[in-house]
């Protein structure tokens, strides 16, 4: 078995999706009109509110920021 190379592999990350705040299906960040339900993807509706998705998505966003900062500092 030979020596390891000095150049590590690199990749791109998946584009981020968020939940439509009406139907809770995934849409691209920044979407205004949901392509799935036709509603305002930014306006919180019952399904999104009752599922506590706002809190869960906020925690995921924090996790993403932490991961980015850790990578920059490491």
């Amino acid at each position: 078995m030979s020596e390891a190379p000095s150049h590590p592999a690199r990749a791109l990350a998946s584009p981020a999706l968020v939940l439509c705040r009406q139907c809770a299906e995934y849409v691209f960040a920044g979407t205004t009109i949901c392509p799935h339900c036709g509603g305002d993807a930014r306006e919180i509706g019952p399904r999104y509110r009752d599922g506590n998705y706002a809190a869960i998505e906020a925690l995921k966003a924090i996790e993403r920021i932490e991961s980015t900062l850790k990578r920059r500092s490491g």
């Binding site: 690199r10 990749a11 995921k60 996790e63």
Partner: protein, 402 residues
């Protein structure tokens, strides 16, 4: 979902940094192709050992290299991994290098004593295959008594205190039994249930009647959603395998948002597959002749991981590989055709995956559905693929998409 429920994930969960730095977080390692079952859907056509399987010393060197690359979990599989005489030595080496170790098994002839010694060696989790209720499971697994043994292994794990999950192949015949299968595995003490669609590879091409038709996702996915919700009430988490998806109305139930949405196939970006003779791929199940990056006996894993084109295809997230429906799909930049193995095995080409709920629903809006039909058999080799045609047809009267 009424309460906020954030689950602490396994160490193999992939972070953004893992994606960008291309860390091979999770490795699935076929320790041997020897197997004591004769599964009619086996993609690797397991049974006899491969010629030239790695020696114990070579296996330990593989573990050392993977640890250097940042691997956090190795799942040992077969064939049947425990048929190798040195399986405990390899488990111990994995743990000694700071890597989590789990094993996937059919459970046939895996005694309680063997499980205890594996736990002593460092095994942290066991995935047991259950493909239906007893008659169906024994028929699919090719050995009478294999169902009873799988359940006995789950009971042994519970008694010993080893975390046990259940893996179920979704074949054309199991769907009506899934609710009862769930009852059985909850009673047996399983906490996690991973389901995966049977893929058209190896023995499953020979026995293509076991394959689900893509349009059957219209009924399967609502059923899985119901089972997922019912399972949570009973302390069982139903998890979708990489080829169950994608997006659609139920994805948020089992993939997100706390787990993150489906990011596309991780093969070659955060996953490595190893065959028992040292062949290295981006996923354990991909066709060897199209996706092997070489052999660990000839090159370092780091060298292959950094450079080899058969490992790099998912990393730049390009859309050039996509074709058919997937090419123009709303989710194309994220999903990129879903599971590479599923599409590539059907058509000899990745990038167009008819086993997609979102796709099934979009096609149904036009009153059409897709089915597959075999046009070429698979050679009698491990991880061999045949060829299938994809046929679009009107949805028969009275059969609406769910």
């Amino acid at each position: 979902m009424g309460e906020i429920e954030l689950r602490e994930g396994p160490r193999r969960r992939v972070s953004l940094a893992d994606q960008l730095d291309c860390v091979p977080v999770y490795v699935v390692w076929e320790l041997t192709l020897a197997c004591n079952l004769k599964c009619v859907h086996c993609g690797s056509r397991a049974g006899r050992p491969r010629a030239g399987e790695l020696t114990t010393a070579e296996c330990i060197e593989v573990v050392r290299q993977l640890a250097e690359l940042g691997t956090r979990e190795i799942s040992i599989i077969g064939g049947e991994a425990f048929i190798r005489k040195d399986w405990l030595t390899i488990i111990r080496a994995i743990r000694d290098h700071g890597i989590d170790c789990t094993m996937q098994t059919g459970g046939y002839k895996l005694s309680a004593t063997m499980i205890e010694t594996a736990v002593d060696a460092g095994l942290q989790g066991l995935g047991v295959s259950i493909d239906g209720l007893e008659p169906l499971h024994d028929r699919l697994r090719g050995v009478r008594g294999s169902y009873a043994q799988a359940l006995r292994v789950l009971a042994d794990c519970r008694r010993i205190g080893l975390s046990a999950s259940v893996n179920t192949q979704i074949t054309s015949t199991v769907i009506p039994q899934l609710a009862e299968v769930m009852d059985v595995i909850i009673a047996a003490g399983a906490k996690y249930w991973q389901v995966q669609l049977t893929v058209a590879m190896g023995n499953a091409v020979d026995n293509d009647d076991v394959l689900l038709q893509p349009y059957e996702l219209a009924t399967l996915m609502p059923l899985l959603a119901r089972l997922h919700e019912a399972g949570r009430e009973r302390d069982l988490v139903l998890l979708p395998g990489n080829n169950v998806g994608y997006f659609g109305p139920y994805d948020v139930l089992w993939r997100g948002p706390d787990r993150g949405h489906y990011p596309g196939c991780p093969a070659g970006q955060n996953v490595i597959g190893l065959e028992a003779d040292g062949s290295l791929k981006g996923c354990p199940s991909l066709a060897t002749h199209r996706y092997s990056a070489g052999n660990v006996r000839d090159k370092s894993i780091a060298e292959m991981w950094a450079e080899h084109p058969t490992l790099r295809f998912n990393r730049e997230r390009g859309l050039d590989d996509l074709w058919g429906f997937c090419r123009s799909c709303y989710y194309a930049p994220v999903c990129r055709g879903g599971c590479t193995w599923t599409a590539d095995s059907l058509f000899g080409r990745r990038g167009n995956n008819p086993y997609c709920h979102y796709r099934v629903l979009k096609l149904a809006e036009r009153g059409v559905r897709e089915r597959i039909a075999k046009i070429e058999d698979a050679p009698m080799q491990s991880f061999a693929t045949g060829r299938f045609a994809l046929i679009e047809e009107p949805i028969p009267n009275g059969q609406a998409a769910a």
